[in-house]
């Protein structure tokens, strides 16, 4: 374990240290230290981000190929740490009735798992990352013990999550057995020389894909998402949607890019089928939702569908140069934009929940008059989620559409376009309730918390900046991929 390996996982170490220290400080300090705790977390996150950007190792991998240290990993490290910090700040607003320290620590531990997922080059690390991300989040969902719905949501999430991990592990076992290695790159090389479509290979591959598909909440493995999102306290849901799922997406990307290259014509149909199913189920069922959190859950399933199109294009045979690179860059950019939008949307929902005691559509009524700024923010997030300019969501979808059309998946692009028209209906229904419907939900005498306003503000700035001038982010994503060995060669 040379110093190089240590440096490559420095951000993870920093986060773990912060998490531990947060627990320690809380053990001694108690209630009054919460403000300083948040300071500690935010400061720590900033340091971690700087370290992950600055402390770059010249080698492309560490720990014998298990941990990859390329631009792709750095991009996701920065994103995940930022999302974690924002989630913790958001959770600060409910520090009265929810153990804030434990919550922060859990989020940090889950973030470490996500960082590993972003940098994994090996199936073992993949499994470890998945579990390290999932277990803290199970607790996050159930953290409000006195609410039955939280526990029920957590239970469903846990049982199905564990079940899926079991399938994943069994899949990995078979792949390890047949290829003799768990390293994605070596596995790909080995399989290339073999007959890639022997049934046993496919058994392992299938189970691997199912496990990952579950973690990314794609249809038909999505059933846990609505209940978990609705049951969990809103900050936890925010982190689950913006953080945990994006971590899983990063892991899926790693696997697809590095490991599944020889199985191209096997992987493509599955991912497309799952993507189309997610888009349809996610958008169509969302129409009926009365509860905004549950609506955002289905919307997240739909957005998973959009992103999976980008993942699918990685393996299309089209001869256009740099297509694979563009596809991954499109998914990366979309993940970042989606994380910001969803976090913002959940932050606003959280604020409304605190003021009106619920997250039903009725609670949003007349928000336009009672708190205009919050309502305006929600309008921007809704527009962005629909994919209407000038919000960032538009360019996310545009890049994905561009990649899909270039990769010959024009019919999938059309499905994306049609289902986003359906999505416009339920996103704008929120706006309808906020501005256009006369209704007076009774307002609880709760002061608006600065923490939430901060998170909402950051969400707005991010969405609008990426909407008006997204070049910076897109170019960063594209350049990050130059270093990824496989993608560098403009296939």
């Amino acid at each position: 374990m040379e110093t190089q390996d240590l440096i490559s996982i420095l951000p993870e170490i920093i986060l773990t240290v912060i998490a531990a220290s947060v627990l320690m400080v809380d053990a001694f300090g108690g209630q009054r230290t919460h403000r300083s705790l948040m300071g500690l977390v935010v400061g720590g996150s900033v340091i971690a981000i700087l370290v992950s950007v600055v402390a770059r190792v010249d080698a492309t991998s560490a720990f014998g190929g298990m941990v990859l240290t390329d631009g792709f990993a750095v991009f996701f490290k920065v994103l995940f740490i930022a999302i974690a910090a924002l989630s913790i700040v958001l959770a600060f607003a409910q520090s009265k009735d929810v153990p804030f320290a434990e919550l922060s620590a859990l989020i940090l531990f889950a973030t470490v798992g996500m960082l590993l997922l972003g940098a994994t080059g090996d199936l073992i690390l993949l499994y470890l990352g998945v579990e390290l991300t999932s277990i803290p989040v199970y607790v996050l969902v159930a953290i409000k013990r006195d609410r039955f719905r939280a526990t029920e949501g957590a239970l469903k999430y846990f049982l199905l999550g564990a079940f899926a991990s079991g399938l994943l592990l069994y899949g990995i076992a078979w792949l390890f057995g047949l290829t003799g290695t768990t390293n994605l790159a070596d596995m790909a090389l080995y399989v290339q020389s073999q007959d890639a479509s022997s049934p046993w290979f496919l058994l392992g591959l299938g189970l691997l894909l199912v496990g990952l598909a579950f973690k990314v909440a794609a249809v038909p493995f999505h059933m846990w998402t609505p209940d978990a999102y609705q049951g969990a306290p809103t900050p936890s849901t925010a982190f689950l949607a913006a953080g945990a799922k994006m971590g899983a997406m990063a892991g899926l990307l790693r696997v697809v890019v590095h490991g599944l290259e020889p199985w191209q014509d096997m992987v493509l149909p599955i991912i497309i089928a799952v993507a189309v199913a997610s888009m349809i189920v996610g958008n169509f069922v969302a129409i009926w939702q009365r509860d905004v959190k549950r609506l955002l859950a289905y919307s997240s399933i739909a957005h998973t569908g959009y992103m999976l199109i980008g993942v699918a294009v990685v393996h299309t045979q089209s001869e256009a140069g740099g297509l694979a690179r563009d596809a991954v860059a499109a998914v990366m950019f979309y993940a970042a934009v989606y994380a910001l939008m969803t976090l913002g949307a959940f932050a606003v929902t959280f604020a409304v929940e605190r003021r009106t005691g619920g997250t039903d559509m009725e609670n949003f009524q007349n928000l336009g008059r009672t708190s205009p700024l919050l309502a305006a923010a929600m309008v921007i997030f809704m527009i962005s989620l629909t994919g209407i300019p000038p919000a960032a969501g538009f360019f996310g979808k545009l890049y994905l559409l561009q990649v899909a059309v270039n990769g010959g998946l024009t019919w999938v692009a059309v499905v994306l376009v049609l289902t986003s028209t359906v999505s416009a209906y339920y996103y704008l229904r929120v706006v309808v309730n906020m501005y256009m419907v006369e209704g007076q939900p009774r307002l609880l005498p709760v002061p608006s918390s600065t923490a939430i306003s901060a998170v909402v503000a950051i969400g707005i700035i991010g969405t609008l900046v990426l909407g008006i001038y997204p070049t910076g982010a897109i170019e960063w994503a594209q350049s990050a991929l130059e270093e990824v060995g496989k993608l560098a060669l403009t296939r």
Binding site: L159, F163, S197, P199, L202, L207, M223, W224, A286, W288
Partner: protein, 635 residues
């Protein structure tokens, strides 16, 4: 001198602008003066121009500005001054001036005084421009503009539902005619590539040779426009209803000027009509039939203005008959004389209505001559001119008209019979009107009869002037075929000569015809005298003669009701059907898509049962599908 021609339309337009802007608030009664000044100015300039142009043979043009240039379509607004235009200008401006003077008295106590004197000069401006247009599009533009003015003036007393209804009916019927006109215009553009008169007339023979039959179609389409504007059968229904407007309006627009626009248009396009004999026969037949048809209805009308309205329709029919047989000059001559004596009769009837405090129903009149001597006298002169008694204007123009039909070949005989019959009936209903109104025992309530008074001088002077016109105007066309007007218009209608339609009658034929015409007229007057003066003036006596025929005529052959039911009613029901279709089917489909999407969403939603084993089952099912797919894929 022609450079000043643009003043003729400009003066009434300026009058309109001033009255329109300041009339309501500032000018009020003074708007009458301004309107009169404007129209008088136009009259004076027209006369000056007429005198200056006497020796000129070539038509001159004054171009104002470019209207539009798009590809090979280029169009400038150009005024044209030639013999035909000047004749029309003289007729239009003179009659308009008379009506303007008359209206000052007639509209004196009307609250909308300023509004009346805003619309009237606007009409005069539009009519002048129509006559002075140098291309088909400008003609069409002001063709519709006069239609608008007639809409505004018919519906002048808009609080009366019947007036507003009549206005809309007039505009729509004109619009139906305009559709024909527009199609004709577009065909001309399509075939000729230009809309300017001179180019069209010069290209006409070439086009006829190249595409035989196209000219006939164009002429018929233009004639449809003329039928709409000049109220020829079957588009005549709007003129009688137009009597809802103030009487000076009826006199000016629905007797002297606007309705003659159709005649002017056909006359203007004589080079085209001459080349298509079928179109000429159609024009003649429609004209003749309308003449007789309208005359029959005129017999049974009790409203004094409606009698005159049907008389106008009938006289216009005669003019179209003349055009149809190629006697263009005769038609224009009759148009001019008709303008004077019909204007006189209408203004006279206005004076009667004014004098008898708004009484229009002849059944409740009678014996008014004593009370209104000047109106009565001028009215009789007008009646004599209308019936065609020598030496009044009506005689000469109608006589020449009938002569031309006789000489125009085998169809001519039928036309002559129809024309003669129409003239006979004209004499009958004219003098029925005079006897019922002015002579016999009065049927008006004594108390009301005592109030009847002669109209003020500002109304009677125009009557006298027009009476002089009705007497003197005829001599312009004496002797037949060689009168002043014939030489003047000779160059305009050269095309007719080349086509061999102009026949110079022998003097014995002319004299014989004069005799026949006079006999017809006198016979008509005697018949009217017999029925209405001798037996008993009450109109029931006439009904007794042939009840079913009388009922048919009184109800105007039930044509109006037929139109209302079929055209108006049909459109409304069809519209209702479409509206329902649009709301339920087309919109229905859109909402259906929405419902389907909701339905699918609902179905999928029910799969989310909330029970854990269903979730686990769906995960397992997903895995099974993936593996099944792979097993199928693997060899």
């Amino acid at each position: 001198m022609v450079q000043v021609a643009w003043l003729i339309p400009a003066l009434p337009l300026i009058a309109f602008a001033i009255n329109g802007a300041l009339g309501r608030t500032y000018l009020k009664k003074r708007t009458g003066i301004i309107a009169n000044a404007g129209v008088l100015g136009a009259l004076v300039v027209s006369v000056l121009l007429f005198v200056a142009q006497l020796d000129h043979a070539e038509p001159e043009t004054v171009s104002l500005w470019t209207w539009a240039v798009s590809g090979d379509f280029a169009l400038d607004i150009v005024l044209r001054v030639d013999a035909l235009t000047l004749v029309m200008l003289l007729v239009v401006t003179s009659v308009s001036f008379m009506v303007h003077v008359y209206s000052i008295g007639y509209m004196d106590n009307d609250p909308g005084f300023w509004r009346f004197f805003t619309y009237l000069p606007l009409f005069v401006f539009a009519m002048i421009m129509l006559v002075m247009a140098n291309n088909l599009l400008v003609l069409f533009v002001f063709w519709e503009a006069v239609g608008l003015c007639s809409y505004l003036l018919i519906g002048f007393w808009f609080e009366r539902q019947s007036a507003s209804a009549a206005a809309v009916k007039a505009f729509l019927t004109n619009r139906i005619g305009d559709v024909g006109f527009l199609i004709g215009l577009l065909l001309i553009w399509h075939v000729f590539g230009t809309l300017n008169y001179d180019e069209i007339f010069s290209l006409a023979p070439v086009v006829e040779a190249a595409r035989p039959g196209i000219l006939t179609l164009i002429c018929l389409m233009l004639f449809v426009g003329a039928m709409g504007k000049s109220a020829q059968f079957p588009l005549h229904v709007w003129l009688p209803d137009a009597m809802e407007g103030p009487t000076p309006v009826s006199a000016l627009i629905h007797a002297a000027t606007m309705v003659t626009a159709g005649v002017y248009m056909v006359a203007r396009f004589n080079p085209l009509y001459v080349l298509s004999s079928t179109a000429m026969t159609v024009v003649a037949l429609v004209g003749a039939f309308t003449a007789l048809f309208a005359a029959t209805i005129g017999l049974t009308q009790n409203d004094i203005k409606r009698v005159l309205a049907y008389s106008t329709v009938s006289q216009l029919g005669l003019m179209f008959m003349a055009l149809g047989v190629g006697a263009f000059t005769a038609a224009i001559f009759h148009l001019a004389t008709h303008a004077f004596f019909k204007g006189l009769l209408f203004l006279g009837s206005g004076s009667v209505i004014h004098g008898t405090d708004e009484e229009q129903d002849m059944q409740r009149m009678g014996g008014l001559f004593g009370k209104m001597p000047v109106t009565g006298a001028t009215y009789i002169i007008g009646g004599l001119a209308l019936s065609g008694i020598i030496p009044l204007a009506g005689f000469w123009s109608k006589d020449e008209l009938l002569g031309a039909t006789l000489l125009s070949g085998d169809l001519g005989y039928l036309l002559f019979v129809l024309g003669a019959l129409a003239s006979l009936l004209t004499a009958v209903y004219t003098f029925r009107m005079i006897f019922l109104t002015f002579f016999g025992k009065t049927r008006m309530a004594a108390e009301r009869f005592s109030h009847v008074h002669e109209s003020p001088r500002v109304m009677t002077v125009p009557l006298i002037v027009l009476a002089v016109g009705a007497v003197g105007a005829g001599f312009v066309g004496v002797p037949p075929e060689h009168g002043l007007i014939h030489n003047y218009l000779h160059d305009t209608f050269l095309a007719a000569e080349f086509a061999g339609l102009v026949h110079v009658p022998s003097t014995v034929f002319v004299l014989a015809l004069m005799a026949v015409s006079t006999v017809i007229a006198l016979l008509g007057i005697l018949v009217a005298y017999g029925i209405f003066m001798r037996r008993s003036p009450a109109p029931e006596s006439v009904a007794g003669l042939a009840p079913p025929l009388h009922a048919l005529l009184v109800n105007k052959y039930y044509l109006d009701d037929f139109y209302d039911a079929v055209l108006a009613g049909g459109t409304r029901t069809a519209g209702g059907l479409f509206a329902w279709f649009d709301l339920n089917i087309v919109d229905g489909v859109v909402n259906l898509i929405g419902l389907v999407v909701r339905g699918v969403g609902g179905g999928l939603r029910r799969m989310q049962t909330g029970r854990l084993e269903n979730y686990a089952f769906s995960v397992a099912l997903g895995t099974a599908l993936v593996l099944a797919f792979y097993i199928m894929m693997a060899r």
